[in-house]
Amino acid sequence: MEDKDIVNLYWERNQKAISETQTKYGNYCHSIAMNILLNNEDVEECVNDTYLNAWNSMPPHRPKILSVFLGKITRHLSFDKLRYKNADKRGSGEIPLILDELAEIVSGNESADDELYRKELIKEINDFLNSLSKEKCNIFICRYWYAYPVSQIARQFGVTENNVSVTLNRIRNNLKQFLTERGYDL
């Protein structure tokens, strides 16, 4: 079923919307959650919560890219769950490694969670991503959005793991410089 038809089902409050979502994007949401949580039970819970969140979000939302809309919900829920579970310990899997990598870009200090600041920062990050080649941008997002392991990214892109690590390291450094030049003290 086409995305717009699925979205229409949500708007019509037709419960078939959930089953259609599950059929088309169940595996997609599952893989996003698994990259973060590594636990089937938690993954199932997050994916089910994603469907609930989608049901509650549409209307008023009418997403252009349904997969990404659902993926964002899953990612957010999964990360929240992971933080809740690992509040007092480091945890395993890719997320601790990814967070350590991202720590290179930020100061680590608490900052205001201003909505306007957040929107502006997202815009700047998008501008930075626009300056990257398609491959580098994809590698960056595969790592920091989808939380894929470096080894899996390397296999899929047909390059060595070292190549991916070096690429990500350079992108992080360039992102930090880019944001600093624009007055963002992270």
Binding site: S67, G71, A103, V106, G108, L121, I125, N126, Y144, L186
Partner: protein, 227 residues
């Protein structure tokens, strides 16, 4: 900002980029192509080898059915003998006449050489006519020459030589290591590294559009039953 905050903010980047990256990860993995490439390479090599072997057999059959023989150059080579001053002069004269006539691009001019055995300067024409003889004699001046009918014009032999030269790399790969115009034999000689180089013989022969203008030689004694 804390690293967790940044991770959260990165969740809001451009949706099209997220979609593009997701599609890349769900595409069939590239790693299989490494083995596919090796497999393809091996298959291509096998195909090339089989093709060459088949061509070799085909070329051998061609050589046999066209009764093409490879002469032993060592046996054909002329014995060394003393050249008298008179003979040396005639040899030089023959070469001089050949050099002059070969540059005129006469379609009927074949060759000019000194026949040691008969002590004559032989001049070959593909068409022996009075007008051709008269033209030639203007170049020979008072030198006595004996005309004879030859099979191939020097122009044709040069063209054939040039064709062989253009394809010298392929010919070399298949065993024809050198070639030259043999003026006294009125042919192009192709030297082979051994007498089993059927593919080289086939390729060279195909360039000879008239036929019979190439002789093949090698330093190896011809084996029985071949050729």
């Amino acid at each position: 900002m804390k690293k967790e905050q940044l991770f959260d903010i990165l969740g809001e980047v451009d949706e099209k980029k997220i979609q593009s990256a997701g599609e890349t990860m769900s595409r069939k993995k590239k790693t299989s192509s490494i083995w596919l490439n090796y497999g393809t390479l091996v298959a291509c090599l096998c195909l090339v080898i089989i093709s060459i072997l088949s061509f070799h057999l085909y070329a051998k059959q061609y050589v046999i059915s066209n009764h093409i023989t490879v002469h032993n150059e060592l046996l054909l080579g002329s014995d060394y003998c003393e050249v008298t001053e008179e003979q040396a002069k005639k040899l030089e004269k023959a070469n001089s006449i050949h050099n002059k006539l070969s540059t005129q691009n006469f379609e009927w001019y074949g060759n000019c050489y000194y026949d040691f055995e008969n002590d004559k300067i032989m001049l070959g024409l593909t068409e022996i006519s009075d007008s051709n003889k008269e033209t030639v004699l203007s170049y020979t001046r008072n030198t006595a020459v004996e005309f004879y009918q030859c099979d191939y014009s020097y122009q044709y032999l040069e063209e054939l030589y040039n064709k062989l030269y253009k394809n010298r790399v392929i010919l070399y790969l298949f065993g024809a290591d050198r070639f030259n115009i043999s003026i006294d034999k009125n042919k192009v000689n192709v030297h082979l590294t051994n007498d089993n180089k059927y593919i080289a013989i086939y390729i060279a022969n195909k360039m000879d559009t008239i036929g019979g203008a190439i002789t093949f030689s090698s330093d190896i004694q011809p084996t029985d039953g071949d050729g």
